[in-house]
C-alpha cells in the first residue's frame, strides 16, 4: 500500500488556503513585517517561530483581522481579506491570555460564537456538547472560568475557538502559560484535535521544541522576514543560514575560507588547523568565507585519534550530564569550544574521559552543513 505523504507545499497545482503576497506592515517608522510572501495550505499545522518582536504576532493579528497590511495582499481561499473586520472572517483565534469571558460559564463561553451566528438552539446545544467532549470538559460546563485550572482554561479557549468550525484557527502561544509536563501532553492533544477536526492551524510560538513537535511546517522569522520555511526535519538538518541553525537546537559553527575539492566537496580552512572536509549542495567560490554548522550529536568524542577526516584534538572543558545525554564542551587549540553529545545508552558505564582530559573530536564529511550566511 502506498501512503501519500501530506505535503501540499511541494505540489505546484495545490491552491493555498492562505496566501501572503509582498505583505509589508509598518507601525509608525517600525517595520513589523517586511515584504513577506508565504503560502499556507489546507489541513496544515503551520508554526511561526521566532524571537519576540520578530513579527510573528503581527502576522497572526493580520490573519485574524485586527491589523491590516500597509501594502501587499493577503487572501484566504482565494479571496482578498484585507479590510474585512475580524467578525466577518471564517478565522478564529485562541488568545495567549485565553481571553475567556469571566462573567460567562464554560458552556456559554463555548456557545458565544455560535449564538452570534444565530444558530438554531438544538444545533447549538449539540455543537457545544461535542466541543466539551472533544476537549474532555463535559463535567465543567457550568463552572465559571475562575473555577477551573489553567490547563482546563486552555482547553476551554481551544473549544471556544473551534466551535464555529473555522477554516483557519490561529493559536497565539497557546501553551505558554502551562508548566512543562502539561505543555508536552497538550502538544500531542493539539495534534490529535487538529487531525480529528481537519482544521488548518497556524501557531505562533517562541519555543522551538514546541514548533518542531506539533507543526507540519515551520517558518523561522527574524525582524519581519521569513528566513526559512520547511518541515521540522529540514529546518533542523538543513538550515539555510547560521541564524536558523543557531535558533533551532544547539549547533557548532566553524568559519573560514573554503576551496573546492572534487564535486560538491569543499575543504574549509579553520584557523590553520588541518582543513576540514565538508560535502555541500551549495557552491562556493574559491576562497569564499563559509560557515560549517554541525549539530553536537553528530560529533564523536574519542580518546585515540579516529580514522577518517575531520579529527581535531582538544581538551574537555565541561561536562553536562542531562540524563539521557551527556554534552562535552571541548576546547580546541585556538580557543573555540566544540560541543559534542553522546547518548547514555547504558545505565552503568564508566565515563571514558573527565575534565581536562585531552580528547579527539571528529565528524564525517556529511555531518555538517556548509552555509554562506
Amino acid at each position: 500500500m502506498v501512503e501519500t505523504v501530506f505535503e501540499p507545499w511541494s505540489d505546484p497545482n495545490a491552491d493555498p488556503l492562505i496566501s501572503f503576497k509582498n505583505v509589508t506592515k509598518f507601525f509608525g517608522d517600525f517595520v513589523a513585517i517586511d515584504d513577506l510572501t508565504l503560502d499556507i495550505f489546507e489541513r496544515e499545522f503551520f508554526a511561526l517561530l521566532g524571537p519576540s518582536g520578530c513579527g510573528k504576532t503581527t502576522m497572526m493579528r493580520m490573519l485574524a483581522g485586527f491589523e491590516n497590511p500597509t501594502s501587499g495582499s493577503m487572501s484566504l481561499s482565494g479571496h482578498d481579506i484585507a479590510g474585512i473586520p475580524p467578525n466577518k472572517r471564517a478565522v478564529n483565534m485562541m488568545f495567549q491570555s485565553y481571553a475567556l469571558f469571566p462573567h460567562l460559564s464554560v458552556w456559554e463561553n463555548i456557545a458565544f460564537g455560535l449564538r452570534r451566528d444565530g444558530v438554531a438552539k438544538d444545533v447549538l446545544h449539540t455543537r457545544v456538547e461535542e466541543m466539551l467532549k472533544l476537549t474532555r470538559l463535559e463535567k465543567f460546563g457550568r463552572r465559571k472560568p475562575h473555577q477551573i485550572s489553567g490547563g482546563q482554561r486552555q482547553r476551554v479557549a481551544l473549544a471556544r475557538s473551534l466551535a464555529k468550525a473555522p477554516k483557519l484557527l490561529l493559536l497565539d502561544e497557546p501553551l505558554g502559560a502551562l508548566d512543562k509536563k502539561l505543555r508536552q501532553e497538550t502538544q500531542f492533544e493539539l495534534m490529535d484535535i487538529q487531525e480529528q477536526t481537519g482544521t488548518t492551524f497556524v501557531i505562533v510560538t517562541h519555543d522551538q521544541e514546541e514548533a518542531m513537535t506539533v507543526a507540519s511546517r515551520v517558518a523561522v522569522m527574524d525582524e519581519g522576514r521569513i528566513i526559512q520555511v520547511a518541515t521540522p526535519e529540514k529546518i533542523y538538518e538543513g538550515p539555510n543560514s547560521v541564524y536558523v541553525a543557531d535558533f533551532i537546537g544547539d549547533v557548532n559553527i566553524l568559519t573560514g575560507p573554503v576551496k573546492a575539492v572534487g564535486a560538491d566537496t569543499y575543504l574549509l580552512d579553520f584557523d590553520g588547523m588541518e582543513p576540514m572536509t565538508a560535502a555541500s549542495d551549495r557552491t562556493f567560490a574559491e576562497g569564499a568565507t563559509a560557515h560549517l554548522a554541525i549539530r553536537p550529536e553528530k560529533i564523536g568524542i574519542h580518546v585515540e585519534r579516529p580514522e577518517g577526516p575531520n579529527s581535531v584534538q582538544g581538551k574537555v572543558l565541561d561536562i553536562a550530564y542531562l540524563g539521557n545525554l551527556s554534552t562535552y564542551h571541548v576546547q580546541l587549540p585556538n580557543g573555540q569550544i566544540i560541543k559534542a553529545q553522546t547518548a547514555n545508552t547504558r545505565r552503568v558505564s564508566r565515563r571514558a574521559f573527565t575534565w581536562e582530559d585531552p580528547v579527539w573530536v571528529s565528524w564525517s564529511a556529511t555531518a555538517g552543513v556548509l552555509l554562506d550566511r
Binding site: A64, G65, F66, P85, P86, N87, V91, N92, M93, F95, Q96, S97, A99, L100, F101, P102, H103, F112, G113, R116, D117, K144, H146, R160, S161, K164
Partner: protein, 283 residues
C-alpha cells in the same frame, strides 16, 4: 474593632437622634423634653411616636420624600449617562495620559464644595455667564430661567457627584482585558455588540457602585437645592434644615432624619450585598 467604630460613629448618634425624635418640642435648652435630667425611667415613660404620626398627617413630608427620591433617581441616571462615556474614554486613553485625566477629575475637590455651588449661581442666573454667552452668539433673545428651577438642581447634582460615578466605573473598565473585546469580535460580534455583551456586564460592579455613591448623598442633599433650586424645589434635606433651624422643632426634624435614614438603609444594604457578590465572583 470595626464594630467599635460603628458603635461610636453611627449607632450612638443614631440612638440620640432617635430619642429626640420620640421627644416633644419645648422652649428650653436643648429645645426638647424630656431629657436625662428627669431621670431615666421618667424620661423613657414620656417618649412616644407622636412626631412620626405627625409626619404622615402633613403631606409636605411625604411629598418631600417622594420628590427627593425622584430627583436623586433622575440625577443618578443622568450622572451615569454622562459619566460612563467619560470613564470609558479615560480607560481607553494612552497610559501616560491616564494619571493626568484622573487628576483633572479629582481637581474640583480642591475647592470648597460650597464655593463651587455658588459659582453655578453666577453661571445660571438670568444675568449669568451662560445667558450672556447665549445672548452674545444670538441663540436666545430672552434670558433663560434656569436658576431656581429643578433643572439647576439636576445640573448641580450631576456636576457635584459625577466624579463618584466616574471613578468606580473607570476602575472597572481599566481592569478590563482588551483581548476580551478582541475575542468577542473574533467570535462574530460587531464593535457595538461586543460593548453590550462584554464591556457593560464586566463593568457592572463599577456602574452599581457609582450609582449608589451618587444616589445616596443626592437623596439627602441640602446645599444644592437650597442654593440652586429656590423655593420651588422640594427636597427632604431642605425640609430637615428648616425644621431644625427655622422652626427649631428638633423632635420633628429628628423624626424626618430617622425616616430618611431608613429609606437610605435599603439601598445601602443592596450596595453591600452587591459588593459581597462581586468579591465572591472574583474570589
Amino acid at each position: 474593632m470595626p464594630y467599635l467604630w460603628l458603635l461610636t460613629l453611627f449607632l450612638i448618634p443614631f440612638v440620640i437622634v432617635f430619642k429626640i425624635a420620640l421627644s416633644d418640642a419645648a422652649l428650653a435648652i436643648p429645645p426638647y423634653m424630656p431629657t436625662m435630667k428627669d431621670g431615666l425611667s421618667a424620661m423613657l415613660s414620656q417618649l412616644d411616636f407622636e412626631n412620626f404620626v405627625f409626619l404622615t398627617e402633613d403631606d409636605l413630608y411625604w411629598k418631600a420624600y417622594l420628590s427627593s427620591l425622584k430627583i436623586a433617581f433622575i440625577s443618578t441616571v443622568l450622572t451615569l449617562l454622562l459619566g460612563y462615556p467619560i470613564a470609558y474614554a479615560m480607560a481607553r486613553a494612552p497610559h501616560e495620559w491616564r494619571a493626568t485625566l484622573m487628576m483633572l477629575i479629582i481637581l474640583p475637590f480642591w475647592t470648597s464644595f460650597l464655593i463651587r455651588v455658588y459659582a453655578w449661581v453666577g453661571i445660571l442666573s438670568t444675568e449669568g455667564l451662560l445667558n450672556r454667552f447665549l445672548f452674545w452668539i444670538g441663540a436666545i433673545s430672552e434670558p433663560l430661567m434656569i436658576l431656581n428651577t429643578s433643572t439647576a438642581v439636576y445640573i448641580g447634582i450631576v456636576y457635584t457627584y459625577i466624579p463618584f460615578m466616574i471613578l468606580p466605573i473607570y476602575a472597572a473598565l481599566e481592569r478590563l482585558d482588551a483581548s476580551l473585546i478582541e475575542a468577542a469580535e473574533d467570535l462574530g460580534c460587531s464593535r457595538v455588540k461586543a460593548f453590550w455583551l462584554i464591556t457593560i456586564p464586566l463593568s457592572k460592579g463599577g456602574i452599581i457602585a457609582g450609582c449608589f455613591l451618587v444616589f445616596i448623598p443626592a437623596l439627602g442633599e441640602f446645599v444644592i437645592p437650597s442654593l440652586l433650586g429656590g423655593s420651588g424645589t422640594l427636597m427632604i434635606g431642605k425640609v430637615l434644615f428648616e425644621e431644625f433651624f427655622s422652626n427649631r422643632d428638633w423632635p420633628v426634624a429628628s423624626a424626618v432624619a430617622v425616616i430618611l435614614l431608613i429609606i437610605l438603609i435599603i439601598p445601602i444594604i443592596l450596595f453591600q450585598r452587591n459588593e459581597q457578590r462581586q468579591q465572591e465572583a472574583e474570589g
